[in-house]
Symmetry: C2
Subunit: 182 residues, 2 copies
């Protein structure tokens, strides 16, 4: 679940929080009972890549929770100070140590249940040699028939891979996919 | 500027915050000196629409800061519990009281300076009658030559409008635009 109602104290003054609907609003917000500050909670972006080397796709075996031991595309929370593309490239470097040429934005997936939007760029791997970081047990290339579909970490990874293989078979390029993921 | 370093107190326990680099991280994070909780600060999504009625585009004159009195496309912060499309539609309803049929995602614009991503869907207006909410002084349709270019509220609004009029003149449809805005 997304982290709504995660405020107990005001991040400005430390005062007690109550969830109230402000006068000019229609939702309950974390409101400080001492200084009156309102703290908003909003969806976060997870940014990553779909790195391709010839016929193969790069997946990373997670070394951390959630989904420890499951396979994922390199991705993580977008940081302040970067674009979606820069974040996607950074995560690919941090998780796989992979050298890539970033391509177009390929998937924008709403994951309402967890308050996230997952955005994946396609990427061309410049080398099949990887240097996984501490969040990754193993970084490995897979042909389509080798993908561990039952061992994928996240729904958005499965959906992104499925769309990519479909588009590749279709032979008409890689249009943007916008989807809502349960 | 984006709201980095906005934590002075822990939102869990109210304890004093220090900005430190956690052991498994490479950036300073708001870290509680009492309970050890780490509070992350990430970019936020602003979602909205480019509502079209025949040859005209809908703009809203802002009744609130920032940019009070300037013209904008209907847009606002994406909320927990909704998709990008749902948020874009909600903002169009709240700010303009406009009835729309939502169309494709059209612009994804990184505004790194303020820690935001602005996402606009194209939309077809079902009626030229509006019912602006309290955040809007006036909702009005503009032909291209009438757009108040010097009175627009945000760079992303200008960029979205420019791309739309260009694409319309080009006659080859409305592909996704991904851009970085200074
Ligand atoms: Zn307070
Ligand atoms: Zn604490």
């Amino acid at each position: 679940m997304f982290q709504a109602r995660r405020y107990q104290h005001c991040s400005t003054c430390g005062g007690q929080i109550e969830y109230r609907i402000p006068a000019d609003d229609n939702r309950e917000r974390a409101t400080c009972t001492v200084c009156g500050a309102i703290h908003y909670e909003n969806p976060l972006n997870v940014v990553g890549t779909l790195p391709i080397y010839g016929e193969q796709v790069l997946l990373c075996k997670r070394a951390i929770e959630p989904r420890l031991g499951k396979w994922t595309l390199p991705a993580g929370f977008m940081e302040l100070g970067e674009t979606i593309a820069e974040g996607a490239k950074r995560e690919t470097d941090e998780e796989a140590g992979a050298q890539i040429e970033l391509q177009e934005l390929y998937c924008v997936m709403n994951v309402v249940r967890v308050g996230q939007v997952h955005l994946f760029h396609r990427a061309r791997l410049l080398s099949p040699v990887f240097d996984p970081g501490p969040e990754t047990l193993e970084a490995k290339l897979f042909h389509e028939h080798e993908v561990p579909w039952d061992e994928l970490a996240f729904h958005t990874v499965r959906e992104t891979l499925q769309r990519f293989f479909e588009d590749r078979r279709g032979g008409n390029g890689y249009p943007l996919h916008v989807a809502d993921i349960a």
